[in-house]
């Protein structure tokens, strides 16, 4: 019998990430050179010994499906082990697109019930962290909780961005508020929930009958508290990041270059190294003119130029005389001779022409999307080509698949958006 089933919430498209999530859900976004964000939660579930995992996916699931395969990279192949991608489906009645996290779980109740688990772990695929779920599961069992929620203490001035809670001495949740403007507590929800299966199933069915809203945070948790269900908290104090905006996505990437960065070998994060998606794993080649410091470099990269404080994903080519500084360069990008890339995110397969400059001039917020991009990071969408000699400012956004004709001038001022 399977005691615990994991349900991973991976469908979400986050509008703030704009061009980076134009073709993929947030959970499939690359992170730290060779991973995708969903790798972190899957690796956590694997290490906790949870053998059955359903991945709830809805928005453009192609890159996610390719990445997850049959779950083999996370050891989810075997008689009792399984990883299934649960897409929306049509049925006899009331099938529809997932309307929210709770609705996605409800529509897949038959997947959960097939395994008759005592416990269901529901976790978001959008977070970067390494957490041992086992002590939390242990507390959940011994406290007789109906629901245990993982929290992390955050600075007071950021608490309004999260669902927050107040716990009593027995770690029972007394208050839960979703993105309140002045929250009572400073414990932010990590979107890691451990449910007693029976409670979750009853709750979801009741909601379906009542036609209630469809999110766990806005509906399930408050109603359980109203009804005096046993809701407990578990406080996690390790590294945990949430790429909510382009600025925070960039900052989270850069965290890995800090002196006190997360220790990736110790985290033991697994990913899919399938050569079809990741390229053949030839070692990185540093030519005689290469100068690389304070950086992360993946296999198959070829460096002839200068790289400082940056992340080079597999297959990146930095030609002679090119300079890459404070940047995140994704798979197979090519930076041509003499080009300079400063404080930028280049999505996969971007080409920067000779002598082009990406990221120069003053820091201003992006003109159209200041709420997600204001720190001067320039973001270039997948498969775009930056023409030779072009000068592009800071906080610019370039849409995927842009070609020379899409760039109106040889000088793109800071804060611009380049689209078709």
């Amino acid at each position: 019998m399977t005691k615990i089933v994991g349900m991973v919430l991976a469908g979400g498209r986050v509008d703030e990430l704009l061009v980076l999530t134009a073709k993929r859900p947030k959970s499939a976004l690359p992170m730290w050179g060779m991973y995708r964000i969903i790798d972190f939660v899957l690796s956590n579930l694997m290490r906790a010994g949870i053998e059955v995992v359903g991945v709830l996916s809805q928005y453009r699931p192609h890159s996610l499906n390719t990445h997850l395969l049959n779950g083999e990279p996370w050891d989810y192949v075997g008689r009792s082990r399984a990883l299934r991608v649960l897409s929306p489906f049509k049925g006899a009645e009331d099938s529809d697109w997932y309307k929210g996290t709770a609705d996605a779980l409800y529509q897949n109740l038959n997947f959960i019930e097939r395994y008759s688990p005592e416990t269901v772990v529901v976790a978001s695929a959008d977070h970067v962290y390494a957490m041992d779920y086992r002590p939390m599961l242990q507390q959940h069992a011994t406290s007789g909780a109906d629901l245990t929620i993982a929290f992390k203490r955050v600075p007071r001035d950021q608490a309004h961005l999260y669902g927050t809670a107040v716990l009593d001495e027995s770690r029972r949740v007394t208050v839960y508020q979703e993105k309140a403007s002045r929250p009572e507590g400073d414990l932010a929800s990590l979107t890691v929930y451990v449910f007693k299966t029976r409670c979750l199933v009853e709750r979801l069915k009741q909601n379906a009958r009542d036609g209630q809203t469809f999110q766990i945070y806005s509906e399930i948790i408050p109603r359980m508290l109203e009804e005096k269900a046993r809701v407990f908290g578990w406080v996690f104090d390790g590294y945990w990041q949430y790429a909510r905006t382009l600025d925070t996505y960039y900052a989270t990437n850069m965290d890995i270059l800090e002196e006190d960065a997360p220790n990736l070998p110790a985290w033991g994060v697994r990913t899919n190294l399938n050569p079809g998606t990741m390229g053949d794993p030839a070692p990185a080649l540093f030519r005689p003119t290469a100068k690389v410091s304070s950086s992360l470099v993946c296999w198959d990269a070829v460096v002839e130029g200068t790289v400082e404080h940056s992340i080079l994903s597999p297959g990146v080519v930095i030609e002679r005389g090119a300079v890459v500084r404070d940047s995140v360069i994704m798979h197979r990008c090519r930076i041509a001779k003499g080009a300079v890339v400063d404080r930028a995110i280049l999505d996969k397969d971007v080409r920067v022409g000779t002598e082009a400059r990406v990221g120069c001039g003053d820091v201003v917020p992006n003109r159209l999307h200041p709420q997600t991009l204001s720190t001067g990071v320039t973001v270039i969408g997948k498969d775009s080509c930056v023409p030779a000699g072009l000068r592009m400012g800071r906080s610019c956004i370039v849409y995927p698949d842009m070609r020379e004709a899409n760039f109106p001038h040889a000088e793109i001022p800071s804060g611009s958006v380049v689209s078709a």
Partner: protein, 424 residues
């Protein structure tokens, strides 16, 4: 038509790399690591894949464990499927004449049953010992169009090296008229690459007549010379990079060739595939270069952590080079740690070594060949075996051999002189 279905590959991977000394003392030569993340056999297996060949019999004998772990079911080379596969063929008992393989032809002979079951039209015989990129499909096409019974791939080698190879003389039409196996004063410098395409019926007949009658056990010495004048044998000239990395010097040179854009060895355009290397704690993370790192003209495998200087070197996954350390003209294999201020010059360091702070490997002048193995080591390279511990401050000279597992911290010695060997 693609040759896949009627052609069987027999890959001789049992090789004892005795002149590679401690690098191949606990693994077969094809399993010796190469190029910062590969093993020697990856080149042949990748050639098989790119040539569209689908079924491989892998003949193992000498210390096959690393090799079997590496090849597994052949998936990295796309050899898994209904018709595709790799079958491991170890020496076996069960018939009167089964035994340890006595030579290349004997190894194939003892697996006649395996081949007959598959009823191939042709058999391609390869060795897992060489670094090269070759399209076997073209060679098979030449074999067929010229109606040869046996086609042997050949390339010119320097005259002074001919005695290491089987050499052949061919007439203007490419038919082989003479064949000499590892002789002094060879008549030709056209060396056999150990790549054979045989008509299966001919192969079976010749093996039965020679090996079955216990007259000989080797292709180069017995089978091929015996076919001269009776069977049409075609010389298939190959022009390209090909190295038999059978000596420490040639092994080091070929690794350095990976760094030279003009050498003809290009890991990227050759599309060499290998099995995923899984580190001690699971996945290898990206390599991390510190603020004082300096890396030039080098290959860096996954999961390395570099704070010091690396120049003209090949680093395999998981190598740690600490601050102030300098690694030059060297090959450093998986998970070796090079301590603070340690200097490594013109050396080969096997996996999982611990080189202490301020230690020096490859110090000295290098004029003295290795005393115990002068034939293996006289070019100045020092070789440090798997899992060796060199304590802080110890100096190891040139042409030295430190055997696998040796822990020098258990001895009170400050220097290992040029040409010394420490085996236990």
């Amino acid at each position: 038509m693609r040759p896949a279905r009627d052609t069987l590959v027999m890959l001789l991977a049992g090789g004892v790399g005795s002149r590679l000394n401690i690098l191949a003392s606990e693994r077969a030569k094809p399993a010796v690591p190469f190029g910062g993340g590969f093993r020697i056999i990856d080149f042949t297996l990748s050639n098989v894949m790119h040539s569209g060949l689908e079924l491989v019999g892998l003949l193992t004998q000498y210390r096959p464990l690393s090799l079997m772990d590496h090849v597994r079911n052949g998936e990295p080379w796309d050899l898994v499927g209904r018709e595709r596969g790799v079958r491991i063929l170890p020496p076996h008992t069960g018939k009167a004449d089964s035994d340890w393989y006595k030579g290349t032809a004997d190894a194939i002979y003892q697996n006649l049953a395996f081949m007959e079951d598959r009823k191939p039209d042709k058999v391609v015989i390869l060795s897992g010992d060489h670094i090269y990129r070759m399209d076997y499909e073209q060679m098979i096409a030449a074999h067929e169009s010229r109606r040869a019974d046996l086609t042997i791939a050949a390339m010119p080698v320097p005259w002074e090296e001919t005695q290491r190879f089987g050499v052949m003389v061919a007439n203007d039409d490419g038919w082989i008229t003479e064949f000499q196996e590892k002789v002094k004063n060879a008549k030709s410098n056209l060396a056999s690459m150990g790549v054979y395409v045989f008509n299966f019926a001919v192969l079976a007949e010749e093996l039965r007549a020679v090996v079955g009658a216990k007259k000989g056990y080797d292709f180069g010495k017995d089978i091929i010379p015996g076919m001269l004048g009776r069977r049409p044998m075609l010389c298939y000239p190959f022009r390209g990079y090909w190295r038999d990395v059978g000596t420490i010097k040639s092994y080091h040179e070929a690794n350095m060739d990976c760094l030279d854009p003009d050498s003809g060895l290009d890991l990227r355009t050759w599309e060499i595939r290998t099995a995923p290397d899984v580190g001690p704690t699971g996945e290898r993370s990206p390599s991390r270069l510190g603020s004082k790192a300096s890396v030039s003209n080098s290959l860096i495998g996954r999961g390395c952590v570099i704070e010091g200087e690396v120049a003209q070197s090949v680093l395999f996954p998981g190598v740690v080079v600490k601050q102030g350390a300098v690694v030059r003209e060297s090959i450093v294999m998986q998970d070796t740690v090079v301590g603070d201020g340690c200097k490594v010059a013109y050396s080969i360091i096997d996996k999982q070594c611990r080189l202490g702070n301020e230690a020096v490997i490859g110090a000295g002048t290098g004029t003295i060949a290795n005393r115990e193995f002068p034939g293996h080591l006289d070019c100045g390279i020092s070789v440090v075996g798997k899992g060796v511990v060199i304590p802080a401050g110890v100096r190891v000279g040139k042409n030295c051999i430190i055997g696998p597992g040796v822990d020098l911290s258990r001895r009170r010695l400050k220097t290992v002189a040029d040409g010394e060997t420490i085996k236990t």
